[in-house]
Amino acid sequence: DTAVSQTPKYLVTQMGNDKSIKCEQNLGHDTMYWYKQDSKKFLKIMFSYNNKELIINETVPNRFSPKSPDKAHLNLHINSLELGDSAVYFCASSRESGEQFFGPGTRLTVL
């Protein structure tokens, strides 16, 4: 039943490590997104993919690399994690434009 799912829900890791967050949607949407929500609850788009093609890349450090193996999946890989990467990361999906459906979020803590 879950429309947009993310794994893991929580991720605690050391600085310098590499980690991945996975996202899957079963809504048949063509577009998927990654957002970062900081400690002040500010939500900002990071990436958007349409039919596996990168559409939006919002001045995100190149340590962050999204990968879309197919339309239903958009994973986020982060290299050399830094303290400032600690945040909640949300995946979302939508049809071409309009209403976006959000996943439950992944809380990343970098120690």
Binding site: V4, T31, Y33, K40, K41, F42, L43, K44, I45, S48, I55, I56, F90, A92, E96, S97, G98, E99, Q100, F101, F102, G103, P104, G105
Partner: protein
Amino acid sequence: AQSVTQPDIHITVSEGASLELRCNYSYGATPYLFWYVQSPGQGLQLLLKYFSGDTLVQGIKGFEAEFKRSQSSFNLRKPSVHWSDAAEYFCAVDGNEKLTFGTGTRLTIIP
């Protein structure tokens, strides 16, 4: 560039009282507008959206919002709040295939 302003960082309302959360946007054309709600530790849930047509839109959980082009506003209202409405509320504008969020308004309900 599109932007959204939510001037109220935190609002406290008594249970049963009416509520209005303010949202102003900046976008060159007619925007798509959204209100999302985020309960503590949860993802974002869409309350309502405006694409075109009737400027008063009804959403879930008894919420409504009115699009006022002359004021570039899309304020969220509810006639009588319930304790379960305590959450963070985000206004968002969709333009250029990108969703831009406001900084959110935290709603506290007092008995």
